[in-house]
Symmetry: C2
Subunit: 476 residues, 2 copies
Amino acid sequence: MAKSITPRSQDYSRWYTDIVLRAELADYAPVKGCMVIRPYGYSIWEKMQRELDDRFKATGHLNAYFPLFIPESFLKKEAEHVKGFAPECAVVTHGGGKPLEEPLYVRPTSETIIWNTYKGWIHSYRDLPLLINQWCNVVRWEMRTRLFLRTTEFLWQEGHTAHATEEEARSETMRMLEVYRDFAEGVMALPVVPGRKTENEKFAGAVETYSIEAMMQDRHALQAGTSHYLGQNFAKAFDVQYQDAGGQLQYVHATSWGVSTRLIGALVMAHSDDQGLVLPPKLAPIEAVIVPIWKDDATKTLVLQAARALAADYPRRLAIRVDDREGFNPGWKYNEWEMRGVPVRIELGPRDLQAQQVVAVRRDTGEKLKVPLGDAIPRVTSLLDEMQAGILKKAKAFLDAHTRPIDTYAEFRQFHETGSGFANAHWCGSADCEKSVAEETKATIRNIPLSAPEQPGRCVRCGQPSARRVLFAQAY
Amino acid sequence: MAKSITPRSQDYSRWYTDIVLRAELADYAPVKGCMVIRPYGYSIWEKMQRELDDRFKATGHLNAYFPLFIPESFLKKEAEHVKGFAPECAVVTHGGGKPLEEPLYVRPTSETIIWNTYKGWIHSYRDLPLLINQWCNVVRWEMRTRLFLRTTEFLWQEGHTAHATEEEARSETMRMLEVYRDFAEGVMALPVVPGRKTENEKFAGAVETYSIEAMMQDRHALQAGTSHYLGQNFAKAFDVQYQDAGGQLQYVHATSWGVSTRLIGALVMAHSDDQGLVLPPKLAPIEAVIVPIWKDDATKTLVLQAARALAADYPRRLAIRVDDREGFNPGWKYNEWEMRGVPVRIELGPRDLQAQQVVAVRRDTGEKLKVPLGDAIPRVTSLLDEMQAGILKKAKAFLDAHTRPIDTYAEFRQFHETGSGFANAHWCGSADCEKSVAEETKATIRNIPLSAPEQPGRCVRCGQPSARRVLFAQAY
């Protein structure tokens, strides 16, 4: 348990895996590329789900559930979609002891089965918009997997909406991108760059894909959520038309959008340190741990009594712990809870009790505060707010420090050779330049930031005219 | 939408399907035996999940997530288990475009993959008890399927716990059975009979299985939840041992327990009537609907204003609706919301407004109450409580009226020929008698009720001695 964690400077990738395993967020599964999400990691996912689900419902969406299995013929109905997804699917060929007539694909995403269903639900403009979300598991056969970041099976949510007009569907696409940005920054304390993906990087079957991109501590980008405007592609593939107010048949316009358990990986990579996990308080399963300190039986009784009384007054009963385990000294316990990322540690010993105070220690900065016992709970609550803001501020400063405009290809190559972060550079718009840059520097166009002003320039690769800068980075 | 529902007396089975489809709880899926859970049905499931999950957490359980795929070799490790489940599995033979070396079974239940994982987590008595639950989808290849009641894929929760002693594991088994009973009666308003399954009916791999059995309106039994004491069967199959306080290696004792989306089918069948769905208020996605009534534009403005003001004051914003749709008359709307099982309808017309009152109509009894406008919200709240209790009371009276002791086989046969309900009859304990009764009457032993007193008697089939009565019924 108290084994040390590989420092970031020594091996960033092992540091990440050490934290995931030792903080008991996840474990390897016996099935290639799959993982077990352990209770502590799953509690974080539950908190993410609750926050996202509240936002989905507040914007008018309802949850539903569609089948895990997709008939092969469905996947083939949208040409781009099948090209993108079929090669990475798990395929069921037998059921109930017999070979199946038609193979069933385990869903890699649910557009096809959902649009086949929507055909039966949408007839008139009165049936629109249809705003549905699904929480489920999906499977994509990955060759190189990493816990949370890229696994064969993962958990996610996928929103699928149907609209009467292109305008309305496009505005839904942007609304949900904003929901993701707000969640990432406000809950995960993770600053992100929202923007549009290039043709080359968009979702198979979309007209346009938008993403939010976050920066990890190795200055690589991580795509943290996507929102797609699907146009009428799936409506046409599955023949979903509605009668408009004038009695004319029209194809429906669609969106889809999703985030996954990958976000837990992003959370770990963005905020943690060499002592272990650092969690923004809004996603911490345990917000505070009280470590009682005693020397003998007499002080033990008093200290434990005070610790338990304090915990009993805490407003969220399941979010506080008293670590009263025997056989471990306080220092060992401090390390353990630091490693697991509990935001506030409360030390309470006989001398503290005599002085009617506790020592509160912030996980993010290590700052120690002496707090009167009677003020401990309100002070912990305000500390959690300060930490939530502090962790975001630190991540934002890191993102800003490692993002810069670059105008020459020499500088651009050097920047990415040293893995130095996000480069805002001009790009002519050609897929060839995009590909050459990726081959030569491993940096890809993460997105065309929504905030990028129109500003004439020259493509960093070929020197052709460009209208705005785009975001280049090496990515997960 | 306003199509009528087949009456129960005419065709009980069609009545059920009509309600599920027309109340938009679920829809058929294009994959054999699968279903789509529509938003209204899924909202009920979300409410069930919340209630159950709170109870699981209050009893010390945490959620986790284990892989969808189970290697064939794992399933084979517990002899009874593989015999019971392998024939009804869906099997993945290809992944990422290539045949797999070992076929992967889509989980029909997760004991094997979970116990393989527990092996890595359990070393010492300090690691016990391990109390974990999982919410997920499972697949069992069913030949004859019915929406919610029996589908190839369904959603459920499965608890899997590990304990140091048999006594502790047995007490966990009973604790979770009691959680299910409490949930069924307190939330679903569904009275149940808790009891132990016979050898023949127990879970494949269990030492003992307990169930709660509910009575549907056709007087058939429906198994609404199961809790298993697994002994050391899975611990031995996966070699999960712990070091006890004395340093000795011991095999761990296990339980598992689950309920599924089948409960939504039970809910529909137990309480609904020929007008449509009847929901216990605690599980109603919409608790009350206000139907404004107007004759002209002037009254319309006033009535809508009052209706919206009333809705705005309702404490659970998403649980009340104002049905302000144009082009439908109030009577049509009444039928529609009755069909969807909304507990309270509030009628509000110009004359009501003048009298500063509303008419509140109970879905379960049809009772109409005139309520002063200012009291409407507290009165709706108390009505919901009264309805929750009333629906349980009615179901309990129905269960009692159709449960009786039977002592002769002639009477027993006649009782089941007319599908008359639950028979408490003596049984000698032999699998042969159990089988003969099933063949001759279609009645199976649902369970040996926990409440059955020790009472000597003679087996209803063979006349051999019996120690207590067991519960026989035809079942879903």
